[in-house]
C-alpha cells in the first residue's frame, strides 16, 4: 500500500492493523494516517472499547449459574450407558 491510506481503508483493515497482521510498509502507512486523522483515532478507540465491552459482559454473568448437575441430565447419561 504505497499511496496515502484513506479513512475507508483504515477502517476496512483496522482489525488487521490492531492484530499486527499488516506488513511493515502497510503498517507504516496506517501509523501515518492515524497521526493525521482524529476521526480514525476516535473510531479506533471506540471500536476497541466495543470489543472489550462485548468480551467483558459475556464472560461475567450477572445471573447465577446453577452448580448442580440437572437431574434429567444424569438420567439421560445413565440411560445412554445402559444402551451402550
Amino acid at each position: 500500500m504505497s499511496h496515502d491510506v484513506t479513512c475507508r481503508e483504515f477502517v476496512d483493515f483496522l482489525d488487521d492493523y490492531l492484530s499486527g497482521a499488516l506488513g511493515d510498509e502497510a503498517r507504516g502507512g496506517f501509523h501515518a494516517h492515524l497521526a493525521a486523522c482524529p476521526s480514525c483515532v476516535a473510531y479506533m478507540k471506540t471500536y476497541q472499547a466495543a470489543v472489550q465491552l462485548g468480551r467483558s459482559v459475556l464472560t461475567r454473568s450477572d445471573e447465577p449459574v446453577p452448580e448442580e448437575v440437572p437431574e434429567e441430565l444424569v438420567r439421560a447419561i445413565l440411560a445412554t450407558r445402559k444402551k451402550a
Binding site: P38, T46, G54, R55, I77, A84
Partner: protein, 169 residues
C-alpha cells in the same frame, strides 16, 4: 458443567434450550469418548462438543431473515474520508462495565446482532476459538469468519454509540 451451560446460554439466549444443548453435548461426548485423542484437555474437548451442540440447536430454530447491518457501519465520502466525525464516548470501558444498567444494555446490543454476526463474535471474542476452528465449526471459510468478525465488532460499536457517545447525557 457451569462453564458449558454458560457457553450454551451465550449462544442460545434461552435457559431451557441451553440446558437441552448441554444435555445433548454430554450424551454426544459420552458416545464419542472413544474418539477423544487426548491431544487437548478433556475440558477443551467438552467445550467444543458443547459449542457444536448449541450451534446445531441454533440452526434447528426457525430462521428469520437476516437484517442488514449497513446502517451500523461507518459512512464515507467519495474521497474515502469519514462522512462525519465519530463521537468520543463519555466513559472508559471500565467505568461503563461498573454499571449494571450499562452491562445490561451491552448484552442487549449483542443480542440484537443478526445471528451470523453474533455467533462469530461469541465464538471468536468470547469463547476464544481461533479463526480456523470457528470456520470449521460454522462450515465457512476462514476468510469469511474474519470478515464477519470485523463487521460484527463494527456493528456492535454502532449499536453502543447512541447511548455511550459523549454528547448524550
Amino acid at each position: 458443567m457451569p462453564r458449558l451451560l454458560a457457553v450454551a446460554r451465550r449462544l442460545l439466549r434461552n435457559d431451557e434450550d441451553a440446558k437441552d444443548a448441554v444435555q445433548e453435548a454430554f450424551i454426544s461426548a459420552f458416545r464419542s469418548l472413544h474418539s477423544f485423542e487426548g491431544n487437548c484437555l478433556l475440558s477443551t474437548w467438552l467445550h467444543r462438543v458443547a459449542v457444536n451442540a448449541a450451534l446445531m440447536k441454533l440452526r434447528s430454530r426457525r430462521r428469520k431473515p437476516e437484517e442488514s447491518i449497513e446502517a451500523l457501519l461507518p459512512a464515507f465520502l467519495e474521497d474515502g474520508h469519514h462522512a462525519s466525525h465519530p463521537p468520543e464516548w463519555r466513559d472508559s470501558a471500565e467505568a461503563l462495565l461498573a454499571r449494571r444498567e450499562d452491562r445490561d444494555f451491552i448484552r442487549g446490543c449483542i443480542d440484537e446482532l443478526p445471528e451470523m454476526y453474533r455467533t462469530v463474535l461469541i465464538l471468536r471474542d468470547i469463547e476464544e476459538l481461533d479463526a480456523e476452528e470457528a470456520a470449521r465449526i460454522l462450515g465457512v471459510s476462514r476468510n469469511l469468519v474474519k470478515v464477519r468478525l470485523h463487521r460484527a465488532r463494527q456493528a456492535l460499536r454502532g449499536l453502543l454509540e447512541p447511548r455511550f457517545r459523549r454528547d448524550v447525557a
